[in-house]
Amino acid sequence: MVWVIHVLNGVAIGMLLFLLAAGLSLIYGLMKILNLTHGSFYLVGGYIGLTVMQRTGSFVLALIVAAAAVALIGTVIERYFLRRFHLDELPQTLVTFGFLFIFADLSLWIWGGDPVMLRQPRIFAGSLSMGDYNYPFYRLFLIAVGLVIAGGLWWFQEHTRLGTMLRAGVDDAEIARALGINVSLLFTLVFAAGAALAALGGVLAAPVLSLYPGADFDALILAFVVVIVGGLGSLKGALVGALLVGLLDDFGKAFFPQFALFTVFVPMAFILVVRPTGLFGRR
């Protein structure tokens, strides 16, 4: 039974990682921007959710407000700071790094330096009893949410007009533009949506992983590992990579607590050697 618990934990963490990595991966796939602010979207989203939760007590409202606010922040960054460096990777990376610092300092200023835990919604307060073990409902809820969002994104990408445009843009933005697709709007939409997904991840993770200064870096690094493993620009890669990293992370922490990160990084190094662009990455 212990194994089932660890597998469930790993999948739950994997789902959170998927919310982060999906945005990172799609933003890169479409615009070739390596968004180092992505971990900050996660942390700031979590903190905004915390404040909303404290004021109103509504978890749903916390999710909505955090996603909307961070999407707005993402839009401003994309429109006014990244667009001018289109396809110029280094300045884009630097700008997103600057914002990483700015958000890290601002959130330390606003929300303080102590780790804070979001109270989980009351409906999921209990736990499911499995033999000798109890498994918290909230983590099962996380898995369900992750699966629903993954399914929704896949459906969106494969079966909607906007999704078709997105795929065309990822394949070749130049040609897509020539075919009359409004690539400029697409860029902003994807950047904002990616930011919103990261913010949702932050709010959803907050009752389990807590929020603290430096969580932005931690989230960013794990998201990097996910896309290095899965490949940039692919939704499938983000999902498979996230599940893999989530499981490795959980088993690592359980069985080799001293070297927790190594159980994640050694397989990453191995995959790099075999496939430098990740399992599902192109070029």
Binding site: F85, G98, I102, I221, F224, L272
Partner: protein, 313 residues
């Protein structure tokens, strides 16, 4: 030709200024200039990668920190001093550089950046997590400065020691950059495939550049450990890597003087702003965004642009 004479005169003037400096300044500022020199070396080592080889690394602090920790651990855990510890520190950063290069150089562009970032963060996590050995986030205080026949305990004597080491390292870096090896690196930066077609083993050039950059970063890290008489996990943190990156870009990548100026400016700003407010990170972030938006090719780039505009109206 006048340009070359001019820059030679400028070098002599700067060196003369640096030599008489400690006689005219308060010890606090001598310490600050020492720190500028150390970070100038660190930034120049990164520029070998970014400016000459065209590889943007976000994990350069790994080599800086590994060397610093080697100095500290050898001294505090084994009682081994400068004569052995300094070469050992360089060896440690070189080996770390070779390991990370072997993995990271399988990728290019954004993947390269992510991988150097992730691997450097592994090194950081070891220093952070292995409390019993590395002291965790308390760091390791009490590092005595080495004694190579004369004491380096005073601020001024240590300043001259750093000046000598950084000066020699800069000459070495200048020689590397001017050598056929350095020219080949620039060729690879401009077009990998073309250099490959000309028969250059691109991977080997990049690997050597990476390892050399790691070794020079290690030298800077070792000096910094002695300078502070302390090492901490922040030496290894990605913020340190990012600061080096902005030093290079602020000054101007692809020159040696640019990163040195960038380093001096950032060190000065950090000292000055930290005395006014706690929010150095916020200011650094704003500097990042502004420099990238306003002067993407750095201060050196601005000067070059100005000159060109003057000559071609």
């Amino acid at each position: 030709m006048t340009g070359r004479v001019g820059s030679f005169v400028a070098c002599v003037l700067v060196l003369a200024l640096l030599l008489v400096l400690p006689q005219t300044m308060r010890p606090y500022y001598v310490g600050l200039v020492t720190k500028m020199l150390i970070f100038a070396l660190f930034a120049m080592s990164l520029d070998l990668l970014l400016g000459y080889a065209g590889l943007a690394s976000l994990g350069h602090a790994a080599f800086f920190g590994v060397a610093a920790y080697t100095i500290a651990l050898l001294l505090l855990r084994a009682g081994i001093g400068g004569w052995i510890a300094l070469p050992a520190a360089l060896a440690a950063s070189t080996v770390t550089g070779a390991l990370i290069a072997a993995l990271a150089l399988r990728a290019r562009g954004s993947y390269f950046l992510m991988i150097t970032f992730a691997l450097a963060q592994v090194v950081w996590s070891v220093a952070f997590g292995w409390r019993s050995f590395t002291g965790g986030d308390d760091g390791l205080p009490g590092i005595a400065r080495p004694n190579f026949g004369w004491s380096l305990d005073s601020t001024v004597s240590f300043y001259y020691f750093v000046l000598a080491v950084v000066g020699l390292a800069t000459l070495l870096l200048a020689a590397i950059v001017k050598s056929p090896f350095g020219r080949a690196l620039r060729g690879i930066r401009e077009s990998e495939s073309r250099m490959q077609a000309l028969g250059y083993d691109v991977w080997r050039y990049q690997f050597v550049a990476f390892v050399l950059a790691a070794a020079f970063a290690g030298l800077a890290g070792a000096l910094y450990a002695y300078f502070n008489r302390f090492v901490g996990t922040e030496y290894l943190h990605v913020i340190q890597s990012a600061e080096a990156l902005i030093m290079v870009i602020l000054g101007g990548a692809g020159t040696l003087i640019g990163p040195a100026i960038g380093a001096a400016l950032i060190v000065f700003l950090e000292d000055y702003i930290s005395s006014l407010t706690q929010h150095w990170l916020l200011v650094l972030g704003i500097i990042y965004v502004l420099v990238t938006v306003l002067a993407p090719r750095g201060l050196v780039g601005l000067v070059v642009d100005y000159r060109q505009r003057r000559f071609e109206p």
